[in-house]
Amino acid sequence: MTAAIAVGRTRPRRHALTLLVHQVRYEQLSFWRNPQSAIFTFVFPVVFVVIIGALFGGVSRSSYFGGLSALQYYVPTIAALSVLGSCYGQLAVALAARRQNGILKRVRATPLPAWAYFAGLLAHCVLVSFVDVALIVGVGRLYGVPLPSHWLAIAATLVLGAASFCALGVAVASVISNAEAAPAVAQLVLFPLLFISGTYLPIHFAVLNRIAGWLPVRPFNEALTGPFAQHAGPDWSHLAVLAAWGVVGATVAIRRFRWDPRPE
């Protein structure tokens, strides 16, 4: 064992970018090392598209699906759902569990800044979202859904959506206090929101659509449906609502997030 560093000397900090790359790398490693979690993250959306394809594969363009074919409608909403699942749902549950078993406290005891820890999580969520969406688009192609043309708009929407739902996921993890309750709380919030936002079925009820338009899920669905199915560019007004929810989530997270399993 070597001698200790000179006592009392101020130590330099690791460069922010070095820390970030390091954290992203190990966050990825932790994820891929748990094969069950990795497989289910990617199998779930694929299975979902396959089921929808089997049920509605033959339904062509109709006013019920807003002038789209059933699968043109469902590919973007399932893409949104997969982003919600990995960024909001899984993140809230994983953070609550990591806090409860003391992993977060141990991280907090190291010089890793909080921003780098969360940036590692966000990078992971963005990556998973891109893989999920690519899989969904691929399976949709097998059912004859045309490939989208505005890839840049889709990428920008996915990054913004992943960031906003990550912020909301961290916010929910900040508010709930025990890991056992985390999946139930996360689902309780998400499930009704998915229904009224048209994820499972198109909503033809103007008042409900207007309300859902101010909540986070419907704007995300809409912002993806445009570039996916309608050959439209970025949908700024819906992205603005989504970003606003991201700011709300981040504010709650910054104020309320705890690293320590035991409250004050």
Binding site: M1, T2, A3, A4, I5, V7, G8, T10, R11, P12, R13, R14, T18, L19, H22, Q23, Y26, L29, S30, R33, N34, N101, G102, I103, K105, R106, R108, A109, T110, P111, L112, P113, W259, D260, P261, E264
Partner: protein, 310 residues
């Protein structure tokens, strides 16, 4: 050289529970200090205030020259301190080596990963997944994570709980090596042998107060306490035949004396004259545990018992 830790008038309450009422102590650089005390005495709360996890209500705390609650120095302090927590907290799917390497990447002056795995006794286990390790091996990994940043100050919260006796000896040796290289250590333990073996000084907490502090050898005046000479009464004699007054206790004779050298000489001379053996002859002074139990018992009787904060 300034002290590594200075704690003055520290107070912390959780609602109506006064976990820490008035705690004062210092830890000099390069020293090993053990915080002792029953569950709920305030050890963990004190440690968590110093580590920056909890905010004190009153008093002052200075760690390596900084206030642990001052967020502008938090990162600097974390660079220079290491923690080994009571709860095992490592992600299950990484290997031992990956887990240590991940932590190493957080510090600017980290030790070499290979260089830390051997001293904690995990050599040969580098490629094993953390979830396949035994409880004792996970504790060793925890120790490695506490040391990887090459800390000037190391907090050890019951570091050898769950270790087998050989592993415990190895861990003690490691802590002694750290002291030899200039590392300051503040540890909590319920194991009086551990405090005796490692600590330069011990601080005994009870019900949120410091009830005694000092080197383990002299704590509570145990170096000046009367020695107890014990032996089995020989068949050929009665207790009244002894040259010194003794009492019979659990089938053995106990002679208390302030001058054990002279007393032993008289007793052994008496036995030799009679051609007999003093079976099980032993000289004892109060152990650290005896003194500790007495100190914490006394203070527990003078104040209401506190609810454990853990």
């Amino acid at each position: 050289m300034p002290n590594a830790i200075e704690v003055t008038g520290l107070r912390k309450s959780y609602g109506s529970v006064h976990a820490v009422k008035n705690v004062n102590f210092t830890v000099r650089r390069g020293e090993i200090v053990a915080l002792l005390g029953p569950n709920g005495a305030g050890k963990t709360t004190t440690l968590e205030i110093l580590e920056g996890f909890r905010v004190r209500d009153e008093g002052s705390a200075v760690v390596l020259g900084y206030d642990p609650n001052d967020r502008s120095h938090a990162r600097e302090l974390r660079e220079r301190t290491g923690l080994v927590l009571q709860d095992i907290a490592v992600e299950p799917y990484l290997t031992v080596r990956e887990t240590v390497a991940r932590s190493a990447g957080y510090y600017s002056a980290a030790r070499d990963v290979g260089e830390i795995i051997t001293p904690v006794g995990l050599n040969g286990q580098e490629r094993r997944k953390v979830r396949t390790l035994s409880g004792g091996q996970k504790r060793r990994l925890d120790l490695a994570l506490g040391l990887i940043g090459n800390p000037e100050l190391l907090y050890l919260d019951e570091p050898t709980t769950g270790f087998d006796p050989a592993a415990r000896r190895d861990a003690w040796e490691l802590v002694r090596q750290l002291r030899a290289s200039g590392t300051t250590v503040l540890l909590t333990t319920h194991d009086m042998d551990e405090a005796q073996a490692l600590a330069d000084r011990v601080v005994v907490l009870s019900a949120g107060l410091v009830v005694a502090a000092g080197p383990p050898a002299v704590l509570g005046g145990r170096d000046r306490a009367r020695a107890r000479i014990t032996f089995a009464l020989p068949d050929c004699g009665a207790i009244s035949d002894l040259p010194l007054p003794g009492i019979e206790q659990n089938g053995a004779v106990v002679v208390e004396t302030a001058n054990p050298t002279l007393a032993l000489s008289e007793l052994t001379a008496w036995a030799m004259r009679r051609g007999t053996e003093l079976a099980g002859l032993a000289v004892e002074r109060p152990s650290l545990e005896d003194v500790y139990l007495q100190l914490t018992h006394e203070s527990a009787n003078t104040s209401a018992p506190e609810r454990s904060t853990r």
